[in-house]
Each structure stands twice: as structure tokens, then as C-alpha cells.
Amino acid sequence: MSTNRRLKAVLLAISALVLVFVYLPLAVVFVNSFSISPTFTWPPPGWTLQWWRLAFHSAGARDALLTSVEVALCATAIALVLGTLAGLALRRTRFFGRNVVSLLIILPIALPGIVTGIALNNAFRTMLGVDLGFVTIVIAHATFCIVTVFNNMQARLQRIGPSLEQASADLGAGPFRTFALVTFPMLRSALLAGALLAFGLSFDEIVVTTFTAGPQVQTLPLWIFQNLFRPNQAPVVNVVAAVLVLTSAIPIYFAQRLSGDSVNATAAP
């Protein structure tokens, strides 16, 4: 784009301010994780590394982290399968109910979490009579993660167009073979991007999780919720959050590299 220097400078300044806004609370969290005050008085009256030490030894945090990762992996796997199927259906076939299907897929994430949460809670406990536990969380998370995969799939399928697949079919390959050898390799990075976003969504989800988690299952957000209440555990939570943010740079960076085309990595929240 032919640049107007001044516009560029203004936008850069605003962007910088926005980024400051975004990182200010995170900086506060980081600083507080070294603060000697467990109730986060500001400015910190003293410095200590004890919270970091406690965090690394915290079995509760480790277990919760593991559970969250497990839940997110399972939910992402399910969402990948279902989202891909739906994406293929909508972009590779003529289908008159497309809008309805789109709407249905978006619904779990468009409706407020508390509505989804109490609906699923009611369904599990009262209608089906099952106990809440690991599986119920996975089901709930997968339901609203489908949309992230679906959107990435749709966008990518639309972009690459059907011509390669048609060529493959002309050359005699059946639909499965075409998918495996032609379509899938082209979709890989979109799938990865969608999977990463689904993982992130599931990892930090608290509202629906509160309503669908059994008492023994504690994902990281639930652990954080529990411990933000307890006077001497709250700073440990800050440490965990700080670590998460810093380490998240790695998978995000890889997602960027592998997707090559940044649109697909960021096409859906």
C-alpha cells in the first residue's frame, strides 16, 4: 500500500498504546508474583522468590495443568474430526441448508457460556443421569471448539478451490484417495491453526467447565478459581499465569511458521 507516512506513524503510535494497554495488567501480574504481600498491595512492599518456589513444587497446579492439557487434547481431536467433516460438506458439496448448518455450528460459541453451561449441566445430570466428570467436560469443550476448526477449514477450502481435487478425480482417484493424497496435505496447516485455537479455547475455559466438571476433575482454570480465594495461594496463581503467558510464545510462534500464511492462523479466535 502506498504509505502515507503520517498515517503510518499515527497508527503505529495507537498500536503501541494498545499493546501497552494489553500488557500492563500482565506486567502487574508478573511483578506481583515477586511481591512479598499475598494480598497484592501496591506498590509491592518487598520482594521474594518464595511464590515461584512454591509454584514449582505445587502438586495441585501440576495436576490441574495435566488435566487441562488432556481435556484440551481430547476436545481438539474431536473438534478436528467433526469440524473437518462439516467444512468439507459445506465447501465441497452443493447443499441448500448451508446457512442453517453454519448457524448451528456457531451457536455453541455465540450463545453466552452460562446458557451453554446450564443447558449441558441439566442435560447430563437430570436428563441422562450421568455423573459429571472428565468425559462431560470433553464433550462440552468439543462442542464449542468445532467452530474454530470449521472456520479455518472453510476458509482454506474456499481459497484453494476444487480444481486440484477435480483433476485428481479425473485421473481416476476415488474420493477417499483424493482426500488423503490431494486435499489433506493442502489443509494441514489450516488444521493445525484450527487445532491450536481450539486447544487455546479449551485450555482457558472456565464458565462452561464450572458446570460440567465433576468434583474430582480440576482443570487449570478451576484450580485457579479455587486458589484465587485462598490468601496464601493467590500469588502462586500469579506465577502460574506468568509462566503460561511466557511459554505460550513457543506454540504460537510455531503455529505462525507452519501456517505460513498468517490469515489462517488467526482466522478465528
Binding site: 499475598p38 494480598t39 498491595t41 455423573d131 468434583p215 474430582q216 480465594f229 490468601p231 496464601n232 495461594q233
Partner: protein
């Protein structure tokens, strides 16, 4: 017979009749209770007859501060000795209000719960808790007699729980800002405007009883005899008082860490509290004191109850036995700031502590208006009016908060 004993007999009878009708409406999964004129029959839940092998773990639902395992403060730990003694791994979940406790018990997965009086009868009537075989509780005979067979923890002489401890809701204030020291609940009601925007109150419909208690003492012509037995007119008066208070509220609290930080930072300077909150905040360096105002107070009398669907009943009984032994009782009582149910704990806490908390003082204990679920059969014995029930209090609470 003292007035209080008679009041409590009447209360007990009325509660019994109310619960009878309550159960008559129940007819859910447990067998329906019989509705004979004289007695009250809660759902038929079997009582454990003897102890079996420990299951290796127990799921505890507790008020924050009741089951400390050293994670808050390594020196505050009575759960680890329990785990070592019995081999039962304790998984503790905290709740912030009695409503949460009732809801969580319904969803299942917990073996024991520390229920206040406004939760216990609901749990008994819905069949979520089982009668307790007090013979299996080690130091049951050391528990103060005035806590046993009360209206909120027993039915027809059958105990449904083991008393844990009791205490009053206090008034906490910032000594630097609130001068002179308040002596009346008027400080948070009629005089609340002096500290506009810095008053706190407990975030639960049961707090309406606190307003009713204040009105009971300051507006006797309203005719309130029991802050949990309010007819529509009395409820409206309490709601009006609370709506006025709302203008001065900084936050309604249910999570006590929030209150501690609020008092520490100065966002709140005055409000209802539990002793543990005042002690924690003072420990953090906040200039706060707590006082029992002249009108008296609402309070709680907590009971450990065992779930009817407990997966670890033996460990559950082991916990209930353990937590009512003198040493753990003294530790909880001092940490939380309440009167322990086991009078023998006094020898471990020191005589002054027991005096301060009136541990063996039945007369004092009877002055506290313990959290009780309001029901439409008036708890003060009136039969000419219908009292408002908890559902109406919940609606009113939403309107108060606005």
C-alpha cells in the same frame, strides 16, 4: 423452663411440622415420607451401623478454613495428621454460601459437608444426607449437650450430623477510618451514609435476616419475633432497609479473600464479617477490629453431615470422628474464630479463648439467631399469617441488589 428453652421447643415443634409438610411434597427418588399428624418422617435413608475398612480417600465439602491442610500456611494443618492416622486422602472443596453447598451436595460426589443451619434441613428433607450413627463418633459424648438434638441437625431425636462449632456474624471496621468504634448494626444500616461506597454485606439472601434482626430491636411495632419468620409486610420493611443500604455498598462479599483485600486496600471500611476474616486481614496488617453489636447477631451453628450417596462412608465417619476430637477442634476454633463444639478443646485453647467465645455458655449460644432456612410456615409459631420463604427471599435479594 427458661424462655429460651420454651422458644426452642416451640421452634422445634414448628420446624418439625414444617419439615413434615415439606417431605410430604417430596416424593422424588427416595421413598415418600408418611404424613402422620404427630411425627415428622424424613426420607428413608439408611444409617451406617458399623465401621468398615477405610476406602483410602474422602471428599470433603467445607467452609473455607474448616479443613486446612497446610497449603494456606504450613503451620495451619490438621488434615495431614488425619490422612496419616487413617490413610484417607482428603480432597477438600470450599464453598462460599450455604446455597452453593446445597447445590453441590445435590450434584453428588462429596462424602461429608459442613452444613450451616440454613442448609442442613434442606439437605435432610431432600434425602441428600443420611442419619448419623453417633455411636461411631469417637468423642461424641464430649460435645456440648446444647448443640445436640437441635432443630437444625436432628429429626425426632435422630441426629443427622455431628456439631462442629458455632459463632456469630460480627461487625468489622477499619479503626483508622471509623471513629468512634461502632457498637450497633446501625453503623451499616441507618448510619451507613457516613461511609458511602465503603460498606460491605454478605452476598446471600440469608442476609435479609440481619436487616430483620436490626428492625426487630429498633422497630418493635413491626412485630418481628424471629428474623427468619417474616411475613410479607415485615419482609418489605427489611427489603426497604437493605435497598437504602445498597446506596452505600462497595461490594457484597461471599469470597472472603476478596473481603480481606478490600479491607486491606481500604475499598471497604465497615461491614459484616466472620472472625477469621478479621484475623486474616489484621494478620496482613490491615487496621481492623471486629465487634458483636448490641442488638445481637445472626450466626451459624455448623454440623458435619454425611452424604446419603457417599462413596467413602468409612473415611467419612473417620473424618467426622477426627474433626470433633479436642485437638483438631481447638485448632479449627482458633483459626476460624468460633466456639468449638467439643468442650474439652478448652483445655488446649486456654481458658481465655473459651471464655471469649462462650464455648460452654448455653445462654449466650441461645442468643444468636443461627442461619435457618425461612419457610412459609412461620418459624415463630404464628399461624394467622403466611411467612415468606427462601424463594421469595432470593427474589427480594435480586431486587435489593438492583
Amino acid at each position: 423452663m427458661t424462655k429460651h428453652t420454651r422458644v426452642h421447643r416451640v421452634l422445634g415443634a414448628v420446624l418439625g411440622a414444617a419439615a413434615l409438610a415439606l417431605v410430604a411434597g417430596c416424593g422424588s427418588s427416595s421413598s415418600s415420607g408418611t404424613t402422620s399428624a404427630g411425627g415428622f418422617t424424613p426420607p428413608d435413608v439408611p444409617m451406617q451401623q458399623k465401621m468398615g475398612a477405610m476406602e483410602g480417600q474422602v471428599n470433603i465439602l467445607a467452609w473455607p478454613g474448616y479443613a486446612e491442610d497446610g497449603s494456606t500456611d504450613p503451620k495451619i494443618d490438621w488434615v495431614t495428621p488425619f490422612e496419616q492416622q487413617t490413610g484417607c486422602q482428603a480432597n477438600v472443596k470450599y464453598f462460599a454460601t450455604s446455597d452453593e453447598a446445597v447445590n453441590l451436595m445435590k450434584s453428588g460426589g462429596y462424602d461429608v459437608v459442613s452444613a450451616s443451619g440454613d442448609a442442613s434441613l434442606r439437605l435432610i428433607a431432600s434425602g441428600d444426607v443420611a442419619p448419623v450413627n453417633t455411636a461411631l463418633i469417637k468423642d461424641y459424648d464430649q460435645i456440648e449437650p446444647f448443640l445436640k438434638d437441635r432443630a437444625w441437625n436432628s429429626v425426632n431425636g435422630q441426629m443427622y450430623g455431628v456439631p462442629h462449632g458455632w459463632g456469630a456474624n460480627l461487625l468489622m471496621y477499619n479503626t483508622d477510618v471509623v471513629k468512634p468504634a461502632p457498637t450497633s448494626w446501625g453503623a451499616v444500616f441507618t448510619d451507613a451514609a457516613q461511609h458511602k461506597g465503603k460498606v460491605t454485606a454478605y452476598d446471600s439472601p440469608i442476609y435479609i435476616a440481619d436487616a430483620a434482626l436490626y428492625l426487630m430491636k429498633t422497630q418493635p411495632d413491626l412485630g418481628i419475633k424471629n428474623p427468619y419468620a417474616l411475613d410479607q409486610k415485615q419482609l418489605d420493611a427489611a427489603v426497604s432497609l437493605l435497598k437504602d443500604q445498597r446506596q452505600n455498598i462497595s461490594e457484597y462479599w461471599s469470597d472472603f479473600n476478596k473481603t480481606v483485600t478490600a479491607f486491606k486496600s481500604g475499598s471497604s471500611v465497615l461491614g459484616t464479617t466472620w472472625k477469621i476474616i478479621q484475623q486474616t486481614a489484621a494478620g496482613e496488617g490491615a487496621p481492623v477490629k471486629a465487634v458483636l453489636p448490641s442488638e445481637g447477631a445472626t450466626g451459624w451453628s455448623d454440623t458435619w453431615m454425611i452424604s446419603s450417596k457417599a462413596e467413602n462412608p468409612n473415611c467419612a465417619y473417620a473424618w467426622m470422628s477426627y474433626i470433633t476430637e479436642p485437638k483438631p477442634q481447638s485448632e479449627v476454633a482458633q483459626y476460624f474464630g468460633e466456639a468449638p463444639a467439643n468442650g474439652q478443646a478448652c483445655s488446649l485453647t486456654g481458658a481465655q479463648f473459651c471464655k471469649d467465645y462462650h464455648t460452654t455458655d448455653k445462654a449466650f449460644a441461645d442468643q444468636i439467631w443461627y442461619w435457618t432456612t425461612p419457610i412459609s410456615h412461620c418459624l415463630d409459631g404464628r399461624t394467622d399469617v403466611q411467612c415468606t420463604d427462601y424463594g421469595q427471599w432470593t427474589q427480594a435479594w435480586t431486587e435489593i441488589k438492583g
